[in-house]
């Protein structure tokens, strides 16, 4: 019995060794050959999977994967398939820089798309531009357009604070309107505040006062009476994420919504879900995408349908849509260039006009900023919502135009 058992054991071990050797040989000989036949098009995708923007990052990954899937289903680039290499940047610029180096040096990524914070995107950009790798940023930023951070390898698919604030101000500010500002005291809040004040000056709206609050403040009760005493027609709240939900809730509690209209630079799907319908009711803001755009824009309908089919009837969100528009436009350019050569793809992207989810878009030549429409939306009253996902009402769609951007001169680009 014992002998049999031991023999049985040794035989199986030998088989295992043989099997392993065979697998190793296959992997060593066969695989590189297969891989060489059609080297995949590798797109590195650093995004903050963990951290406060995890929900947005998840939406972006799903949308980006959809774009890759569609590209592959239509035959890829003459049989070359695309693949998405998702990396967690942990919302940390240092980590993002390391991950991007890894993607370029080890994974040999052809292109980099992604990032969801101003600092992270700028650090990724710093790595990619020095290594001459094309990067499509999908994080809201004014800085990346400016000549100092720009390079010919840098593309910015997202809206920028200048565009969104100008569109919101155009829709809500009038001559003589008194506007009070509550802004988060960091880069994002400052850029939004600057954009609004600039638009207000052009329209002729008055500044009733401004208050900066610390980033991540949980309590706004000390600011509210001060804001109220400014007697504004409009209260403009320039912050992001949980700050936005908290400050809007507390503005509600202090009855500020009855006295003034609340306006935010970006009104986002996930933040509205977190804040609740009652707190957000009547708040006006801008966004890059809202799924009900499908009623007027055919490409939005196509995008939504594909997304619903792929992800059990879910609908794409605004920040998620960036993942789709960025990757889709990049892959269209790859197809147009017929190659993954960086210079050829840059030329193709510069010449591309794409309509994949929200009407026609194109990259401006001087700063590679995507010229695109801005949606002005208003948060719906709970009783008026038609279904769970019906969060907003589209008030207006500001068509994309170069006039909405700062001029190339102002950004420091020389013609």
């Amino acid at each position: 019995m014992i002998e049999q058992g031991s023999r049985h054991g040794s035989v199986s071990r030998r088989t295992l060794v043989r099997g392993l050797a065979a697998t190793g040989a296959l992997a060593g000989i066969g695989m590189p050959f297969v891989a060489r036949a059609a080297e995949p098009i590798r797109i590195g995708f650093p995004t903050p999977v963990t951290g406060p923007f995890g929900a947005e990052a998840k939406d972006q990954i799903r949308s980006a994967e959809l774009a890759v899937k569609q590209f592959n289903e239509t035959g890829g680039l003459n049989g070359r398939m695309a693949e998405l290499l998702v990396r967690d940047d942990k919302l940390n610029p240092g980590e993002a820089a390391t991950r991007t180096l890894e993607l370029i040096e080890k994974d040999k990524a052809h292109f980099i798309v992604g990032a969801l914070s101003s600092a992270v995107q700028l650090s990724v950009n710093e790595i990619t531009r020095s290594r001459k790798v094309l990067y499509v940023s999908i994080s809201q930023s004014d800085t990346i357009n400016e000549a100092k951070d720009f390079s010919r390898y840098t593309f910015h698919e997202a809206l920028n604070p200048h565009m969104t604030t100008a569109a919101v101000a155009k829709h809500t500010f009038k001559k003589g309107t008194r506007v009070a500002y509550l802004a988060a005291d960091y880069a994002y809040g400052h850029e939004m505040l600057r954009g609004f004040k600039r638009a207000a000056a052009a329209i002729g709206a008055e500044t009733a006062g401004e208050i900066l609050h610390p980033f991540g403040a949980p309590d706004y009760s000390t600011f509210m009476p001060r804001l109220r005493s400014m007697r504004p027609d409009i209260l403009c709240i320039c912050n992001f994420g949980r700050d936005q939900a908290n400050s809007i809730k507390q503005a509600n509690d202090f009855g500020l919504k009855k006295a003034a209209r609340i306006v935010v630079p970006v009104l986002l799907h996930n933040q509205r879900l977190a804040g609740g319908a009652d707190a957000f009711e009547g708040v006006v803001g801008a966004s890059n995408y809202y799924w009900r755009l499908e009623e007027t824009v055919p490409s939005a309908k196509a995008f939504n349908d594909a997304f619903r089919a792929a992800y059990a009837n879910a609908i794409p969100t605004d920040y998620g849509a960036y993942g789709y528009t960025a990757v889709r436009s990049l892959l269209m350019a790859v197809k147009a260039a017929g190659d993954t050569d960086t210079d050829k793809v840059i030329a193709a992207l510069e010449g591309l006009t794409y309509d994949v989810a929200k009407g026609p878009e194109r990259y401006r030549a001087c700063d590679h900023q995507a010229i695109q429409s801005v949606l002005i939306t208003e948060s719906r009253k709970k009783s008026e919502m038609q279904g769970e996902a019906d969060l907003f009402r589209i008030l207006d769609v500001e068509a994309g135009s170069e006039a909405a951007l700062r001029t190339c001169d102002e950004l420091g680009h020389r013609a």
Binding site: K90, N92, P93, G94, L101, K106, A119, L122, I127, S130
Partner: protein, 339 residues
């Protein structure tokens, strides 16, 4: 007063009592710096990527510098990010704004970090234990907010950019720093030199003096050591090596994120030193390696990598209180002692 003072000294709150290097491994200690460098030479072949290997070098040096103060002198600082960040920022600004030669800029960054360490040290070594940790933390936070406010210099929230070093000219040769292998060797050259220097410092009478202070401050004082000055010198040296690691990180990443000054960067030094083994020469490097590799690997597998990492840390604290390297050394000497 005297008795009160003594009771505080005998049981410094929060301070660990790391072991002296066991006797059997003493033979190694002569060769510890060259052996460490040899071990580090193999890293790029063992780790998943060069970028990660360079990070291990940089954070390893950071933790070794920290260990000089924590593991050897017995002072638990919670503000070493200030020195790491200052080294990085000054290097970046010197290259970006003033066009200095990268080596000169790194030197400047290291000197600036040491100068800061002199100031912070002079203020903080008057206190002990948890108060010392709090003072260093508070001063480091001051530096953090100063960098946040001085955004025209530091880039504020967005971090410092625009100083990418692609080539470093050394007389007739020019190193291509964008090549990951060259960059690894470049960084290793500095880390190796720093390790040799630290090894020398620890072997000197001064090294014995700071260990005496760690073991029993009152007795060290009674033996005639100038305790205050030794502590301050240890603090400055620690700041110097942390500053150098910051300068190297600026060259490596070609950005300086504001996070490099944040308190969790200070916490990293503590965690790496504890995981590897406080008061051992090579332990902090092992700690940096384990922490960074686990982070890298786990975050590829699962979005819940923090949970996995936390569990591993708890296990370390429970079962390897002397850290990985410290426990390994102890076991080695125990076995030899028995046979």
């Amino acid at each position: 007063m005297q008795t009160l003072d003594q009771t505080v000294v005998d049981a410094p709150p929060g301070a660990v009592k790391p072991q002296r290097a066991p006797r059997v491994t003493a033979g190694f200690s002569r060769w510890r710096a060259p052996l460490s460098i040899l071990a580090l030479l193999t890293l790029p072949f063992l780790l998943p990527s060069q970028a990660l290997a360079v990070n291990v070098l940089i954070y390893g040096l950071y933790a070794v510098g920290y260990n000089l103060l924590y593991g050897y002198t017995g002072l638990l600082s919670f503000g070493h990010a200030a020195f790491f960040g200052t080294g990085a920022y000054v290097t970046g600004i010197a290259i970006g704004a003033y066009g200095l030669h990268p080596l000169l800029a790194m030197g400047l960054g290291t000197v600036a970090a040491s100068a800061l360490a002199l100031t912070v040290g002079a203020v903080s070594i008057r206190s002990r234990g948890i108060y010392f940790a709090m003072v260093t933390l508070a001063l480091a936070q001051l530096v953090y907010y100063a960098a946040l406010q001085a955004s025209s210099w530091t880039g504020g929230e967005n971090g410092l950019r625009g100083f990418t070093v692609s080539r470093i000219g050394l007389g007739p040769v020019s190193l291509d720093i964008l090549d990951p292998q060259v960059k690894y060797l470049f960084v290793l050259a500095f880390v190796g030199a720093a390790l040799a220097l630290i090894s020398r410092i620890l072997a000197s009478p001064f090294g014995a003096a700071i260990e005496a202070i760690r073991e029993n401050e009152t007795r060290a004082r009674a033996c005639g050591f100038d305790v205050e000055r030794s502590k301050l010198l240890a603090f400055v040296l620690s700041g110097l090596f942390c500053g150098l690691s910051g300068a190297l990180s600026a060259i490596h990443l070609s950005i300086v994120p504001l996070d490099s000054l944040a308190y969790h960067t200070s916490g990293m030094a503590v965690v790496m030193t504890l995981v590897g083994g406080a008061g051992t020469f090579f332990g902090p490097f092992v700690g940096a390696l384990v922490v960074l590799v686990l982070e890298d690997v786990f975050s590829l597998w699962t979005p819940h990598w923090q949970l996995a990492l936390g569990t591993v840390f708890i296990l370390f604290v429970l079962f390897l209180p002397r850290g990985l390297w410290g426990s390994a050394l102890e076991r080695l000497s125990f076995r030899r002692g028995q046979s």
